[in-house]
């Protein structure tokens, strides 16, 4: 009996050593397990670097990334990965390593690493954008989705993304955090610059070469503002009408500065998109209000029952209200004839 138990135990140990590759999807907590996934002969669809690697660890992971054939789909840098300052190039080293791969198999890239707010500045994001531009300019790269969290983009970076979307047509999903713009300062140069930059991004959605299916833009704080204005609403409304067959999900948070006319542009754009496919629209923190053209255009859009528009999220609409059975007013006409 004891011999049988010993044999069973030995068998289990042999089996365990015969399969050293961790189960997939995998959140690597150390260098060894990350390298085991990247250098394995077994395919894995998801790897997240869920620890804060040292410089030497990064070199080893970068070397493995340059030749990996096992990681077939998603590669993430989790918030456990903390970029310490502007001179910390660990994240960009990994991105540049991917650009050197002769046939990179990764299709989803999640850059969710943290940056120390006190010691990192805009130049850190500049370096990130430069490395991403290099990666996406590589002809063999077939990345379809990019998600960047915890790294707020500035207005100039939004322009770079518009340029990337024009050049790189393989992207299907894009999710970005933008640095908040002051809500009440719609006359400021910063606001108008941001509006123009987002407008440029929206214009690319109207081009037939763009095949983006999902776009998410949100401010870096839950109460922050994206800084969208009339230019971006006109561009977006126009793009939804001219290139209706691609965008499925549009997620815009913190749109305080879009007023009735701007929201009307969006709702009309969706309604007039013919054979459009937009099924999910998120507009949070809107100023959508009663008795405006915007609410009427939304009413018409919903009534149109176009067959594809199925999800509407209007959270934190500050002026949307209900006042019983219709608000009414008395108009007193005093007609004096004498």
């Amino acid at each position: 009996m004891h011999r049988l138990l010993l044999l069973a135990l030995l068998g289990t140990t042999v089996c365990a050593t015969a399969h050293p590759v961790p189960a997939c999807p995998y959140h690597a907590k150390d260098e060894t397990s990350a390298l085991a996934i990247l250098t394995s002969t077994t395919k894995c669809s998801f790897l997240s670097i869920s620890f804060n690697p040292t410089e030497s660890t990064i070199e080893n992971i970068a070397r493995a990334l340059k030749t990996t054939t096992s990681l077939t789909k998603s590669f993430y840098l989790s918030p456990d990965f903390v970029v310490a300052n502007d001179h910390d190039h660990r994240a960009t080293t990994l991105i540049r390593a991917m650009a050197e791969h002769p046939a990179l198999p990764i299709t989803q890239l999640g850059l969710w690493f943290e940056s120390k707010a006190s010691t990192t500045t805009r130049s850190s994001t500049d370096a990130l954008m430069a490395s991403l531009q290099t990666l996406l300019a590589t002809t063999t790269v077939r990345i379809k989705g990019i998600s960047i969290q915890n790294q707020a983009m500035d207005t100039s970076h939004v322009r770079v993304w518009a340029h990337i979307l024009q050049q790189y047509s393989k992207l299907r999903t894009l999710s970005l955090h933008l640095r908040s713009i002051e809500t009440n300062a719609t006359d400021s140069a910063a606001f108008q610059d941001r509006d123009a930059a987002i407008s440029l991004l929206c214009e690319t959605l109207g081009e037939k070469t763009t095949r983006l299916k999902s776009l998410t833009l949100e401010p870096d704080s839950v109460t922050g503002s994206l800084g969208v204005g009339p230019l971006s609403s006109q561009s977006l409304g126009h793009s939804l009408t001219t290139n209706p067959g691609t965008l499925v999900n549009l997620d815009l948070k913190g749109v305080f500065s879009w007023h009735s006319d701007d929201l009307t542009n969006i709702f009309n754009g969706i309604q007039h998109s013919g054979r459009g496919v937009l099924s999910r629209l998120v507009l949070t923190n809107t100023t959508l209000a009663s008795n405006t053209e915007a609410i009427e255009s939304l009413h018409r859009l919903l009534r149109s029952d176009n067959g594809f528009f199925s999800n509407l999220i209007l959270d934190d609409a500050s002026k949307l209200s209900y006042a019983g059975k219709g608000s009414f007013c008395f108009i007193v006409l005093l007609y004096c004839c004498s």
Binding site: V222, H299, R303, L320, S321, Y322, K325, Y335
Partner: protein, 113 residues
């Protein structure tokens, strides 16, 4: 028509549609819209009942309503305080949503056949 020697008083009532009513009347009897979220919108029990009325005639599966309730404080974490809508009404909304979902699934499977 008007007597020139006296004051004539006309009182005209103009009923203006309100935001939530227009949304509710928008999706009334539609088949497309399945999910509507109005979190932190100033909606109370009477407005929610108008939405529920439209919901029963449409295909909406989920209607999310809370005022001064759920607020996203940081990614994936919610802070919940006392909702401003009658709990019975929310339960009814939930029930109608489930019934609509079942009907939608049945209709989709019939369409596939």
């Amino acid at each position: 028509m008007f007597n020139r020697s006296c004051w004539s008083l006309f009182v005209v009532f103009l009923f203006f549609p309100t935001g939530v009513r227009r949304i509710a009347k928008g999706f009334y009897r539609t088949r497309t819209l399945k999910h509507l979220s109005l979190l932190n919108v100033k909606i109370k029990t009477d407005a929610a009942s108008v939405l529920l009325d439209s919901m029963t005639q449409s295909s909406i599966e989920t209607l999310l309503l809370r005022h001064d309730g759920l607020r996203l404080v940081e990614t994936y974490k919610y802070y919940q305080s006392i909702p401003n809508i009658d709990a019975k009404l929310l339960a009814q909304i939930d029930l109608v949503g489930k019934r609509n979902k079942m009907n939608n699934e049945r209709r989709d499977s019939m369409a596939e056949l």
